[in-house]
Amino acid sequence: MKTLSGTDLSVQIGALRLKNPLIAASGCFGYGVEYAEAVDLSTLGGVAVKGLFLKEREGHPPERIVETPSGMLNAIGLQGIGVHRFIREKLPELRQLRATVIVNICGSTLDEYVELARILSDAEGVAALELNISCPNIKEGGITFGCSLHGTFDVVSAVKKVTPLPVIPKLTPNVTDVASFARASEEAGADAVSLVNTFLAMAIDVETRRPKLSNIVGGLSGPAIRPIAVRMVYECRRAVKIPVIGMGGIASARDMLEFIIAGATAVQVGTANFVDPFIWGKLLAGVTDYVRRHNIARISDLVGTIDTTSREKQWISS
């Protein structure tokens, strides 16, 4: 698909064609509908909705977030309305808004992921499934799959068996070698991987000696994590052939391009949307401007084009 300027921003994630590589990150965009006043959802490559379990969940008591230098910690605890209410109450509106909906699913057990995948495959208007096996804030399920290569393999292959939708496991950065998890996902049949989820972290009020979050620990997101996330995307890109969806601290078109050049076929933006819900148009304009300046016909030509050859010394006369 071409924009008016003749630049092709579309990218391919498995069988899914996204009109551009910009996706709203799960947990940072509500169920999408909350943001319809700020952004035309149909102009986004995709909308990853808040993580869903089968049933409604209350999440953790406040305080759920705290700001840290260039970032924030969150321990929301995956409060959510459950898959059935999502399909009844949110999906029709998302369809009407012509959003490309990526549903982020969470399970306490492998069966719960499978059940969620079945239910969502029958629902009208779901474009892909993102498997949240990386939320650092809940004890049961989720992360236990994401921190074990076998667990990752098992949950991806089980879900693949029951759904025709593209399956995107979302990887945790809280492991020693994230690329091996991308490889396990690919072997299990994943259509893409997305990373990173948040980094397990904590903050303490020294006056009271109390943790700043009710859950004591939480996940770090925002610009503070960006260089680590870029490195992890780079490692995964070199380890697998399936597309890598990159995120972590993106707040400008330059940040977005950095991930794409490191190897991300598409990117997600989370925390920056809290600061600026009108960021989406600015990011797309900035990327469009860049590809035009660099005479790149298709954004997909830019993916993974990092130049690591040794630099020649240049004599620059002043």
Binding site: G30, G59, E67, G71, V275
Partner: protein, 272 residues
């Protein structure tokens, strides 16, 4: 309509060592704001502070019948409020809004009793004006630590809003929490009264209890730690008894105070 405005600071009035009223040229937002709504403010650039902070719209500024901007009443407690305190004319502050569910206005002959604690005065200038324009007899119960922290008293009295004051040190009004005179006057009131409250949460809880004790409804404006102000992050949750706006009753559950509130019925909230 939601807008993000790079608003110029028109003036910044320091009321005390901690409190200030900052006037911002954001007429588009001011014009659309209803009493009780808030804006998300980003002061400074880049990563510190990273997130916006919520502020009630204090006044809508008009000159020659044109809306010129809005003001915020701020108390210096953290990074953002320090930047707001120190800001000078010509600085710019990013302002996103209007956001949140406003107060419901009552109809006369029901009276409106607004209860403010400290910086919780913020929503009551616009609410007071709207109530008076609607013909509602309005009283402001206003409490602070000390008389030097009671602001804008003339602003309210000159409009015909009755004042009942209380300070913790007794320097002005009752030497008590503001709920003491509220309780006393509710005891004596015989007409219909609706209570509006904004202030620290323990005060809101006490106001809701006093109102319920006298069989009056209350609307309270809460302030929880907010990440986005738009329902995106689920951080500003508060427990309510039943789903706002529906007949279904469920056990207490969390709702996002930014979009389900910040104004709630006092009787709906579960205080933790």
């Amino acid at each position: 309509m939601l807008r993000d405005v790079e608003a110029r600071v028109i003036r910044n009035t320091r009321l005390s060592r901690d409190y200030n009223v900052i006037a911002l040229a954001a007429p588009e937002i001011a014009e659309a704001t209803q009493p009780g709504q808030f804006v998300m403010v980003k002061s400074g650039r880049g990563g510190d502070p990273l997130l916006r902070r919520p502020f009630s719209v204090f006044e809508v500024l008009r000159s020659n019948n044109r809306v010129e901007g809005l003001t915020l009443l701020s108390k210096r407690v953290g990074v953002t409020t320090k930047i707001l305190y120190d800001a000078v004319e010509g600085d710019t502050i990013s302002c996103l809004g209007p956001l949140g569910r406003p107060f419901d206005l009552v109809d006369p002959p029901t009276e409106a009793w607004m209860v403010a604690g400290g910086v919780g005065l913020a929503p009551f200038a616009t609410l007071g004006d709207a109530l008076l324009a609607h013909g509602v007899k309005t009283t402001l119960f206003y409490g602070a630590r000390t008389g030097g922290e009671l602001f804008y008293l003339d602003w309210f009295t000159s409009r015909g809003i009755r004042l009942v004051l209380a300070t913790e040190d007794g320097s002005i009004g009752d030497k008590a929490r503001i709920t003491i005179p509220l309780d006393r006057e509710l005891q004596e009131a015989d007409g219909e009264v609706v209570i509006y409250a904004c202030g620290p949460e323990p005060m809101l809880e006490a106001v809701a209890h006093v109102a319920a004790k006298h069989k009056r409804t209350s609307q309270v404006s809460v302030e929880r730690t907010m990440g986005c102000g738009m329902g995106g992050c689920y951080s500003c949750v508060i427990q309510v008894r039943s789903e706002a706006g529906s007949e279904r009753t469920r056990p207490a559950h969390y709702v996002r105070s930014c979009i389900a509130g910040p104004v709630f019925k006092g009787e709906d909230l579960v205080w933790d």
